[in-house]
């Protein structure tokens, strides 16, 4: 029979005390959230509840998101395979993983930045990698 030793019991008590103190600090930080943040949370909650009413405005344009996402991912594939100086480079395994993530429908924000990446690619890059 392995009875918990005195040190084990003491250790558990200290764990509990630590967790309790951490919870107090966390709750304090929750209480200190500013009004603007609380307002945004409330707005987000109301928007979520619209889903239940079936009133969420899913516009027709949303149907095009997967198509534009795939198109953007193809663009990135071409850019990555061409290399920074227009030289063809072999597709690395890591790049395939990147593309998988890019194709994820949750990665729209990333795709929105493609215009910026395209601009960077279009800009002249000197040998130090600085945009010229």
């Amino acid at each position: 029979m392995n009875e918990p030793g005195e040190n084990d019991v003491k250790d558990l008590q200290q764990d509990e005390q630590f967790a309790e103190r951490a919870k107090q600090l966390f709750d304090g930080s929750v209480e200190r959230l500013d009004a603007a943040t609380l307002s945004r949370l409330n707005h987000g909650r109301q928007k979520a509840l619209e889903e239940l009413r079936g009133a969420a405005p899913h516009g027709q344009w949303l149907r095009w998101i997967p198509v534009t996402g795939v198109a953007a991912a193809v663009l990135v594939t071409v850019m990555v395979m061409r290399g920074p100086n227009g030289v063809d480079v072999p597709l690395q395994p890591a790049t395939a993983t990147d593309l998988e993530i890019l194709l994820d429908e949750d990665s729209l924000e990333m795709l929105e930045d493609l215009e910026f990446y395209s601009w960077l690619e279009a800009s002249d890059l000197d040998t130090n990698g600085n945009v010229g």
């Binding site: 919870k23 930080s29 200190r32 909650r45 928007k47 979520a48 509840l49 990147d98 990665s107 600085n130």
Partner: protein, 202 residues
């Protein structure tokens, strides 16, 4: 004929009750989300170190919960909500990694921006907290930095168990792992935190 009348009668009776059920469900969901949203925001904020992004993640989790699990039993909502949120946090980190890789690929000079200074990036509590709360605020800041230094799974286990008060089973659902793993992650987390903060937190 009488059967058709009976069906019509039943449908007439059930129609308003369905609307009432929806209203009741909406009230319950509103109450649940109102109770959980502030803590969820802080948990997400500690996980990704950015309030605006954390707000987006919490809103996204609320929408997904209502859309996909709104009709599930009320007691299932907390673990499901936190599972969605934790997945969102993990996806966010994955996207950040890809974003950084792409940025580095396009511009090697971007390496100077790498490396996160947790102390420099931590929120300044002095700007908002009253004087009497300054000590607690600074202690929380230290706790956040220590939490951010933990491996992600340990951080998740500690925050869900301690901050949100989920039991081991609910935490396992939220983290998508076994109860044994939750216990291991939690134990390692609390010992690491105690070692780092134990002397300074009192």
């Amino acid at each position: 004929m009488s059967a058709a009348v009976a069906v019509f009668a039943v449908s007439c009776i059930r129609e308003p009750s369905t609307g009432a059920e929806t209203l009741q469900r909406e009230r319950q969901l509103n109450q649940f989300l109102a109770e959980v949203e502030r803590r969820a925001l802080r948990i997400a904020e500690i996980g990704i170190r950015d309030r605006d992004e954390a707000l987006d993640l919490v809103q996204d989790a609320m929408i997904k919960l209502v859309r996909n699990y709104g009709k599930r039993a009320e007691e299932e909502w907390a673990p499901l909500f936190y599972r969605i949120l934790q997945n969102g946090i993990r996806d966010w980190h994955r996207r950040q990694k890809v974003r950084n890789r792409v940025m580095v690929w396009f511009s090697r000079s971007a390496s100077s921006d790498e490396g996160y200074d947790a102390v420099a990036q931590a929120p300044d509590p002095a700007g908002r907290a009253p004087d009497e709360e300054l000590v607690n605020s600074e202690a929380m800041q230290g706790l956040e930095i220590a939490l951010q230094a933990l491996p992600a799974r340990q951080r998740e286990a500690f925050m869900l168990r301690t901050f949100e008060g989920l039991d081991v089973a609910a935490t396992a659902v939220a983290m998508g792992c076994s109860e044994g793993s939750v216990k291991t992650h939690y134990s390692r987390a609390i010992h690491a935190l105690r070692n780092k903060l134990g002397e300074h937190r009192q």
